[in-house]
Symmetry: C2
Subunit: 167 residues, 2 copies
């Protein structure tokens, strides 16, 4: 992993401050790459990264309520509402009053919404697919293990909930 040698030997080498600093920088640079492709598409439209996130999670969990989405995205309802309003106005998202609880709004993508979400996700996935292929299956497993361990417990719960039954 490195030519350096800690007193504890190989086992703990990856926990030195320098290694952790390197990990932090890798996160920073990789996240830039992670968002670069969809951002480029959104630049042309009148949307931003916040719109992408909303579309993504509505696609992942169709019928989710506004409150649910707030928790997942970690923003205030005012922030989300601004984004959601334009998406609904533009016919990309459909808001449906709940049958059992009429206070709730269930969110769905329209066909146009699905089309844009697919375009954005495809751009993002193309890069991830290449990265996963380059790194190999075992690296990908490690990648996910570390990312999961880095999440806040509450967010980790959300993450697993999203993937329930599918992952």
């Amino acid at each position: 992993m490195s030519e350096g040698r800690s007193p504890q030997g190989e086992t703990l080498l990856f926990l030195t401050d320098e290694q952790l600093r390197q990990g932090a920088e890798a996160m920073f640079f990789a996240y830039r790459g992670f968002t670069a492709d969809p951002d480029r598409i959104l630049d042309g439209l009148s949307y931003g990264r916040a719109h992408h996130r909303a579309l993504h999670f509505i696609q992942t969990a169709p019928g989710t309520t506004v409150n649910n989405l707030l928790t997942i995205l970690g923003v205030t309802k005012q922030s989300l509402n601004r984004v959601l309003r334009t998406l609904i106005e533009d016919g990309l998202v459909q808001s449906q009053v709940g049958r059992t609880d009429k206070r709730e709004r269930h969110l769905y993508l329209t066909e146009a919404g699905e089309a844009l979400e697919r375009e954005l996700s495809d751009a993002q996935r193309t890069r991830m697919r290449a990265a996963f292929r380059d790194a190999g299956p075992e690296a990908v497993a490690g990648f996910r293990r570390v990312l999961e361990a880095m999440m806040d417990p509450e967010l980790r719960r959300q993450y697993h909930k999203l993937r329930g039954g599918r992952g």
Copy 2:
């Protein structure tokens, strides 16, 4: 990796759209965790994440020029200048005219700057250390391999340049 089975078998399973979507969500949630702890500290002060990034990379590459830092951070000089000005005014960063090229300004952390940088980095590293320990050395290696593959080539170059000679 999953109970699902693709026609190609185990080898390509991690490249299905669903797996890639899961990877994207892991990135999103993990990045939230990654920034949460320093953000909490910065909330109290009159600084933001942009200040943290500047402090971090000046600490990583002391004496770096403004232009260098611009490239690494990927922002405009106007954006960076706003952040840098307050850090210099507050005595956290020192700007030194270059000896060979007097147009350049070389940036260094003062003692106070190093102290704040350490506080922020420590908070961030605590979480990463725990995550790395939980996931294990092989997972960490995979984590880094995938992140690196996800970077833009230009940023990957920057990333390696930062780590040059230090592992």
